[in-house]
């Protein structure tokens, strides 16, 4: 009887047992996040090497508490690389330029990601199927792991986050250059060829839009481009920062941003190496906002005005305002997320106007 009462009391006082388990889980998980963070720090400070593929894997593996199968991940990418190289071997591309070998690789990766390819496997023919756009949960609201490359590899369905990332991994593996580029709420691929200069690859719709499409329809203020918030071909280091902020976002998804210390650490490191990374700046405002609301809630305040007498709240608010002004000045404008799918569709509707004809006119021999 006594023991029963004690358990009842303990349940009432310490909350339920489930959260207790979460707590220990949290400590373990936080330990993993710290470990990966120091790995990123080491790589960004040039003390150790880290490939983009490794960065992507670390981010996703940490989210799953190191339960992601590394061998499977490597194997899946390896299989794709083999397919890409066999497409390269076929030499089907018709292109006149001194950088033929590079462009051939670009074309092969694109084909493997967006086309059906028949592969002779012994006596049988296997059809390699393209990766497709997953219209379900494009922002990872239901499940954050929907943004992951490992999810894309397993289900062959991805979005504007996982598809460009996979493209870049494949390009790195095959030994050619591909750069990630940022548009509002969106990533895409930028590459350079002698005949076309810089060109864009849009994997979500398997097409090559010209820059005007992003500029004229994609909620980009021109200042945002001039200040290199958007549409810049990212360097290797900047791509690692992109993964680092993904790491922070994964942490935020798991534990919220009330305890913003880890997220803040990631943001600071990220901004040190990529000062105008818009997603880092936006995450920062978000964290500040949550912290400010926290103070409001604990003071039972309904309006911000009511907590302004608290110095901590005042400084948070000022910082938030300053940051918002800065981002606005750099050229950021909020894109309503509902508009996103319409925007992607606009490329299909205005294909004629916004397609890069120099690229789409590349012919293959068969």
């Amino acid at each position: 009887m006594k023991t029963f009462l004690v358990t009842i009391l303990s349940l009432l006082t310490f909350g339920n047992l489930h959260s207790q388990i979460e707590g220990s889980d949290k400590i373990y998980s936080e330990f993993l996040y710290e470990k990966v963070f120091s790995r990123f720090e080491c790589a960004l400070e040039d003390s150790c090497a880290m490939s983009f593929k490794e960065a992507v894997f670390l981010v996703e593996n940490t989210y799953f508490n190191e339960t992601l199968d590394r061998i499977q991940f490597e194997q899946q990418i390896h299989d794709l690389v083999v397919t890409v190289s066999s497409v390269v071997q076929a030499h089907n591309l018709i292109y006149e330029g001194n950088d033929y070998k590079e462009v051939e690789k670009y074309a092969a990766i694109f084909q493997v990601m967006c086309d059906t390819i028949a592969i002779n496997y012994g006596d049988t023919i296997i059809n390699h199927l393209p990766f497709t756009y997953d219209f379900d949960d494009i922002w990872g609201y239901k499940q954050w792991s929907n943004m992951f490359v490992s999810k894309l590899l397993n289900t062959r369905k991805g979005n504007c986050h996982s598809m460009p990332l996979l493209y870049k991994i494949l390009a790195d593996q095959i030994g050619t250059e591909a750069h990630l580029a940022i548009a509002p709420n969106h990533f895409y691929i930028k590459q350079y060829s002698q005949k076309s200069g810089w060109f864009n690859t849009e994997l979500t719709s398997a097409s090559f839009p010209i820059d005007a499409w992003y500029m004229a329809t994609g909620y980009i203020h021109l200042d945002g481009i001039v200040n290199k918030l958007y549409m810049e071909a990212l360097s290797e280091k900047q791509s690692l920062v992109l993964c680092l902020i993904d790491l922070a976002k994964g942490y935020q998804q798991k534990f919220g941003s009330k305890d913003g210390e880890f997220i803040q650490k990631c943001i600071d490191l990220g901004l040190k190496h990529f000062p105008n990374y818009i997603n880092a700046l936006l995450l920062k405002t978000e964290v500040l906002k949550v912290q400010f609301f926290e103070i409001m809630e604990s003071n039972y305040a309904e309006y911000p005005k009511e907590v302004m007498h608290i110095p901590e709240a005042k400084s948070l608010f000022d910082e938030m305002e300053l940051l918002a002004k800065k981002i606005h000045k750099m050229g950021y404008r909020r894109m309503p997320r509902e508009m996103y799918l319409d925007w992607l569709a606009s490329l299909r509707e205005e294909r004629e106007k916004y397609t890069n004809k120099k690229i789409s006119n590349f012919k293959s021999r068969n």
Binding site: A181, G197, D211, A212, Y214, A216, L222, V226, K353
Partner: protein
């Protein structure tokens, strides 16, 4: 009086003289008999030839039934003719051979002495090139504190006319326009110190019909569609042409705007777009208002972006849509000077000198880079012609002449610089379409609304 009388008489004398001489000529022509042309049959076979008009042609005077001696004579003539022709042909062949040999020898000599020109010859000896040289030094003498767009434009354009113009006329004309516009503003009760107001007034000067102080009318400046790139006539691009003919294009219109703005002490900037320039003036809120003078509308930067020829890199490298500083304007003037020289004399090392200094002034000046790239391209053609380079022997010749290889490498280097800057060539038809689209897209009602909105910004 006496002089007049003399003149009268002398002219009368000339008149009579003329009259009578004509009369005499007429009389003579009626009286004279044409001499008979001797018949060939009357001539002995070996007598010297008379006027041999029908040499080589079958004679029309040959009688229908020629005698034997006549036939012999004919044969003799034909023989002579043939021999003469053969001799001429032989001479021709020999002459050609000699020429060919001489040419080859010269080529061999040239090659031996490596007399191939790897750059264009200087045209310094040509009449008028010295005026370009002096214009160039005049432009370089300007610095940020002394820069005047009016002076710079005048210097650039006057070089084309051998520096024969007089700046004081232009100076006077510009002051007249400026004071007229400022007076008009004062008359209408508009604040003559406000920058937006001044710019709106200049805009009206371009877009509206205005009655001048002397009662005559100033008509709006028209867009001249004909040869708007100045291919046939370089003068089409000039402000002086715009001022005399009241019509211009996207190069001269914005420049005149800036010149008027300079004399009115208004703040306005030139802005580049692909193949195009327009005007931006600052607004009190820190932003800018665009003016498109070819269609006289308040356009937005999005119009430019929609052309599809603006790459992100071009914006990031500030090739387009950025208000130009005075230093950048000077770079533009230098580029114009180089273009004008090319139109008149073709390429020469002087062009490179001018364009290099333009690029030093503004390293991302895309029109200057394009002139430079043309220079290097034509230089390659120039060397190709001397070395007789064809598609087949290109690789071999490149190995043979390292300087040829170098010329091509230099050309490719500037090509890749331009690509890296984010330049995308815009075909001319598309440019023309784009200009027309812009005109269609903006309806006049909206444009008027924008004008009123801007008018309301003006401080009283």
């Amino acid at each position: 009086m006496v002089l007049g009388k003399n003149k009268y008489w002398s002219s009368l004398a000339i008149f009579y003289l003329l009259f009578f001489s004509v009369g005499i000529a007429q009389v003579q022509s009626t009286q004279l008999q044409l001499p008979n042309i001797p018949q060939p049959s009357l001539l002995p076979p070996n007598s010297p030839q008379p006027l041999n008009l029908n040499r080589g042609f079958p004679s029309s005077t040959t009688p229908n039934t020629p005698s034997r001696s006549q036939q012999q004579y004919q044969r003799h003539l034909q023989q002579q003719q043939k021999e003469r022709q053969r001799g001429q042909q032989l001479e021709q062949v020999l002459r050609e051979d000699a020429q060919e040999a001489e040419r080859r020898a010269a080529e061999v000599r040239a090659l031996r002495n490596s007399r191939v020109n790897y750059d264009f010859p200087t045209n310094a000896h040509l009449h008028g090139t010295s005026s370009y040289r002096s214009a160039f030094t005049k432009l370089l003498d300007m610095d940020d504190s002394t820069y005047s767009i009016t002076k710079a434009v005048f210097t650039t354009e006057d070089a084309f006319f051998d520096n024969k113009g007089d700046f004081s006329y232009l100076d006077e004309a510009m002051s007249d326009i400026a004071s007229f516009l400022l007076n008009k503003m004062a008359d209408e009760g508009i604040n003559t110190e406000d920058n937006v107001a001044k710019n709106l007034m200049i805009y009206r000067f371009f877009a509206d019909t205005m009655q001048l102080e002397n009662g005559s009318f100033h008509l709006p400046y028209e867009y001249d569609f004909e040869d708007y790139r100045g291919r046939k006539d370089h003068r089409k691009l000039m402000v002086i042409k715009l001022m005399t003919e009241n019509s211009g294009q996207c190069h001269s219109l914005p420049l005149l705007y800036l010149m008027i703005a300079e004399y009115m002490k208004a703040e306005a900037y030139l802005v580049y777009a692909p193949n195009h320039t327009y005007i931006k003036f600052p607004l009190p809120d820190g932003g800018f208002q665009n003016i498109e003078l070819t269609s006289k509308i308040f356009n937005s930067d999005l119009h430019v972006v929609r052309s599809g020829f603006v790459k992100a890199e071009a914006l990031q490298n500030k090739l387009y849509m950025q208000p130009l500083t005075d230093r950048q304007l000077l770079s533009e003037n230098l580029t114009d000077l180089a273009k004008s020289y090319i139109a008149k004399y073709g390429y020469s090392p002087f062009v490179k000198e001018v364009i290099d200094s333009a690029i030093i002034k503004d390293p991302n000046n895309i029109p200057a880079h394009l002139v430079k790239s043309n220079y290097y391209t034509y230089r390659c053609f120039f060397i190709d012609r001397q070395l007789r380079v064809t598609n087949e022997n290109f690789e071999q010749k490149k190995r043979q002449y390292p300087k040829l290889k170098q010329a091509y490498e230099e050309r490719d280097e500037i090509y890749s610089t331009i690509d890296k800057l984010g330049y995308e060539p815009m075909p001319e038809e598309i440019y023309q379409e784009w200009l027309e689209d812009m005109q269609k897209e903006v309806d006049q009602k909206k444009n008027k609304e924008q004008f009123i909105r801007l008018k309301n910004i003006v401080r009283q």
